[in-house]
C-alpha cells in the first residue's frame, strides 16, 4: 500500500497546489486510442479538444497523449496525466474502462470521463453518442436511393455499437423499401484503409449501389466515385470533399459541446458523476448536409425523421419488431430500453447472415 500512500500524498500535494493556483488554469487531459491524424475517431475527439481550447482561451489548458494501447499502457498514461495536475481527464476508448476506474480510485480529487463504457464511480462519468439515430436517417436515405435494392455495409468488428447501427439502418430502409437487402462485410480490423477499399469494391461488384460504413476512411467514397451511381455516407467526419455525390450525407461525431459543458462544470465546481448517452437532439450526433443528389421529397422525409428523432417524438427502435430468428422483441408501439440497446447482440428480422461470435 506504499504506492497508494505515495500517490495519495502526491495527489493531495497537487490538490493543494492547484487549489492555490485555482485562479489561473484548469487542466484538461485527453487519452486517445489512435493518432490524431487518423481522419476518424481520434481526429474528431481532437477537434473537440481544440474547440475546448478555443472556447475557454487562457482559462483552460489541454493536453493529450495519442495512440495509447489499452491495458497497462493506458493505466500509466492516465496516472501520469493525473500526476501532471489534470483536473479532468477524458479517456476516449472503450478499452480504457478498467484502467480509468483503477486510476480514478487513486485520485479521488481528479474527475474522469470515460467514453462508451458502463462502469462509473463518484469521480468517473461515462458518455457516449447514440450514433444509431444517425444510422436511422442513413437507412431511410439508403432505402430510397437504391435501385438494385442491395445495400452494402462495412463493419469493423461485430460489437454491439456496430450491430446497433446495422439494425437501425435496416429498419428504416425496410420501411421505405420492402425489397431491400443488406450485404454485410466485416473487415475484422479497426484500421486498414486498403482493406476498407477492397471491401467497398467487393460490395459494389456484388450489386450494392448504396454503401454504409462503420469504418473511418474515405476509401469507400473513392471506390463509389470511381464506379459512379453508387452512394455513400461520410463517417466520423463530414467527408464533404466527396459531395454532392457519392457522399449524400454523413454522420458526424460532435464531442465539442459535451467537452465544453463538462469543462465548465469543473470550473464552476458543479461536476458530478453522470451517465450521458446523447444523440441528434443534444447535438452529439451530427447529420451532415444532405446533398442535391437526393430528390427533394426524399430529403424532406429524411429531415422529418431526423427532427422527430431529435425531439424525442420517435425512437428508431419502435415495435413491432422481431428478432432475426422470428421471436418477438418489441410489441406495437414499444421502444427498446437502453440496456438492451447497449449490449445488442442480435439482428432484427429480415437481415440475412449471422453475427460472427
Amino acid at each position: 500500500m506504499k504506492l497508494m500512500q505515495h500517490l495519495a500524498t502526491a495527489a493531495l500535494a497537487l490538490g493543494v497546489a492547484t487549489g492555490a493556483m485555482a485562479a489561473d488554469k484548469t487542466k484538461v487531459g485527453f487519452i486517445y486510442v489512435g493518432p490524431i491524424g487518423d481522419g476518424g475517431w481520434t481526429h474528431e475527439h481532437n477537434t473537440a479538444r481544440l474547440a475546448v481550447e478555443e472556447h475557454f482561451g487562457d482559462q483552460v489548458e489541454t493536453t493529450f497523449v495519442e495512440s495509447v494501447p489499452e491495458g497497462a499502457d493506458a493505466e500509466r498514461a492516465i496516472t501520469q496525466m493525473a500526476l501532471g495536475g489534470a483536473d479532468l481527464i477524458f479517456t476516449t476508448s472503450f478499452g480504457y474502462m478498467d484502467p480509468t476506474i483503477n486510476v480514478a480510485a487513486k485520485f479521488p480529487n481528479v474527475k474522469f470521463e470515460h467514453a462508451t463504457g458502463y462502469k462509473r464511480a463518484d469521480n468517473v462519468s461515462t458518455y457516449s453518442a447514440r450514433f444509431y439515430e444517425g444510422r436511422a436517417v442513413e437507412g431511410l436515405l439508403a432505402g430510397k436511393m437504391t435501385k438494385s435494392n442491395i445495400i452494402g455495409y462495412i463493419g469493423s468488428f461485430p460489437i454491439p455499437e456496430v450491430i446497433r447501427g446495422i439494425n437501425s439502418a435496416y429498419i428504416q430502409a425496410k420501411k421505405v423499401n420492402p425489397d431491400v437487402q443488406f450485404k454485410i462485410v466485416w473487415a475484422y480490423t479497426w484500421f486498414d484503409p486498403a482493406k476498407e477499399a477492397d471491401a467497398a469494391k467487393v460490395l459494389i461488384e456484388q450489386g450494392a449501389d448504396v454503401i454504409l460504413q462503420h469504418t473511418d476512411s474515405t476509401a469507400p467514397q473513392a471506390a463509389a466515385q470511381e464506379k459512379g451511381n453508387v452512394f455513400t455516407f461520410g463517417q466520423a467526419s463530414d467527408m464533404i470533399e466527396y459531395a454532392p455525390a457519392p457522399r449524400i450525407s454523413s454522420i458526424i461525431d460532435n464531442w465539442g459541446p459535451y467537452y465544453i459543458e463538462r469543462t465548465q462544470a469543473i470550473i464552476d465546481g458543479t461536476w458530478t458523476s453522470t451517465d450521458t448517452w446523447a444523440g441528434i437532439g443534444a447535438g452529439m450526433v451530427g447529420i451532415g448536409e444532405i446533398t442535391d443528389a437526393v430528390p427533394a421529397d426524399v430529403k424532406e422525409a429524411a429531415l422529418a425523421l431526423k427532427d422527430s428523432i431529435a425531439s424525442g417524438a420517435y425512437h428508431p427502435f419502435t415495435g413491432p419488431l422481431n428478432k432475426q430468428d422470428g421471436s418477438a422483441w418489441l410489441a406495437e408501439g414499444e421502444t427498446a430500453d437502453d440496456g438492451t440497446l447497449a449490449g445488442m447482440n442480435f439482428y432484427v428480422e429480415g437481415i440475412e447472415g449471422s453475427i460472427p461470435q
Binding site: 481522419g39 454485410i184 484503409p193 461488384e205 460472427p356
Partner: protein
C-alpha cells in the same frame, strides 16, 4: 448463400489492383536481398513514400509527379539504412526495424496538414481496343498505368537478373561478397544502389495506396503491408515471377474472402479473415520441394579488410 453474386471477372480485375502496392515493395526488396542485404524497413519506406507522394501530388496537382516524389523519398530514406549497414557496418535486422519506426514517425510529422484532403485522381490508362476484348479485356486492360508498371517491372527485373552482366554482378555480390570484392567489384557501391532501388520501389508501393487504392492520407495507413511484402520475397524464393504470383495469390485470397462474406458464405468470418495468411503458408509448404535458397551473403556485414 448466393455465390452466383460473385463475378469472377470483376474479382480478377480487383485483385490486380489490390496486389499492386505489395508487388512494388516486394520487387524492390527482392533486388536488395539478391544483393545480399536484408532490409526490414520496407514498412517505413512505404509509408514515407505514401505521404511524400500524397503531398507532391496534392501540391502539384499531378499524380505522376506524386509517384516520382514517392520514389525519391523512399530512396532517400533507404540511404539512411545503407549508410548504417554499409558504412557503419551496423546490424541489418535491427537497422531495418529502426528504419520502420523512424519512417512511421517521420511520415506522421510530414502529413500533419494533409488529413482529410482529397488527392488528384489517377486516370485509367486508355487502352482502346484492348479493353473491348471479351473477358480478358475486362480483367487485364481496365487499370491505371501503375498496375502495368508493376508488371513490367517484374519482367525487367527478371531480365536484369537472368540476362544481363550487371544482374550477374549483383547476384555475385549477394552470393559471396568476399569473392566479388576480390574480383574487383565495388561491393558497397553496388549495395547502395540496390538499397536505393528497393527504397524507391517501396515508395511507389506506398504512393499507390495513398493516391490510387484508398486514396487519402492517414497516419499509419500502410497497416502492415510492408511486412507482407517482406514475407512474399521469401515466399517467392527470390524470383521475380514468383513475386507476382505470390502478390496475386495473397491479394486474391483477400478479395475472395471479402466476396464470400458479402455473398453470405457459411464460413465463420474469423477463419475467412485469417485465410490469406494460412493459404500463403500452405502454398509455401507445397512449393518447398523446390529448394531454392536465400542468397548466401544475405544479412552478413561486409568489410573489405583483407
Amino acid at each position: 448463400m448466393d455465390l452466383s453474386s460473385i463475378n469472377p471477372i470483376l474479382l480478377l480485375a480487383s485483385l490486380m489492383v489490390a496486389a499492386t502496392p505489395v508487388l512494388f515493395a516486394a520487387l524492390g526488396e527482392l533486388i536488395v536481398e539478391r544483393a545480399g542485404v536484408l532490409n526490414l524497413g520496407v514498412e517505413g519506406m512505404m509509408i514515407t513514400g505514401a505521404v511524400a507522394g500524397f503531398i507532391v501530388a496534392v501540391e502539384t496537382g499531378s499524380p505522376t509527379m506524386g509517384f516520382i516524389g514517392a520514389a525519391v523519398a523512399g530512396a532517400l530514406l533507404s540511404m539512411l539504412f545503407a549508410l548504417l549497414t554499409q558504412v557503419f557496418l551496423a546490424n541489418q535486422v535491427a537497422s531495418g526495424l529502426a528504419l520502420t519506426l523512424f519512417g512511421l514517425g517521420l511520415s506522421a510529422l510530414l502529413g500533419q496538414g494533409y488529413v482529410g484532403v482529397k488527392p488528384p485522381s489517377t486516370p485509367k490508362l486508355d487502352l482502346g481496343m484492348l479493353t473491348d476484348l471479351p473477358v480478358i479485356g475486362r480483367i487485364l486492360f481496365v487499370h491505371d498505368a501503375m498496375v502495368y508498371v508493376g508488371l513490367l517491372l517484374a519482367v525487367a527485373i527478371w531480365f536484369f537478373l537472368a540476362r544481363t552482366r550487371a544482374g550477374l554482378i549483383l547476384r555475385a555480390v549477394g552470393e559471396n561478397h568476399d569473392a566479388a570484392h576480390a574480383l574487383g567489384y565495388k561491393v558497397v557501391r553496388i549495395r547502395f544502389a540496390a538499397i536505393a532501388f528497393g527504397g524507391a520501389c517501396a515508395g511507389l508501393g506506398g504512393a499507390y495506396l495513398s493516391l490510387v487504392r484508398v486514396p487519402q492520407w492517414t497516419e499509419g495507413m500502410t497497416a502492415g503491408i510492408g511486412w507482407i511484402s517482406l514475407a512474399l520475397v521469401v515466399f517467392a524464393s527470390w524470383k521475380p515471377g514468383r513475386v507476382v504470383m505470390g502478390a496475386y495469390l495473397f491479394g486474391g485470397v483477400n478479395v475472395l474472402q471479402l466476396n464470400l462474406q458479402a455473398a453470405g458464405a457459411a464460413i465463420p468470418v474469423e477463419y475467412l479473415a485469417m485465410s490469406p495468411y494460412l493459404i500463403t503458408i500452405i502454398v509455401l509448404v507445397i512449393m518447398s520441394a523446390d529448394r531454392s535458397r536465400a542468397p548466401a551473403s544475405l544479412g552478413r556485414p561486409f568489410h573489405a579488410s583483407h
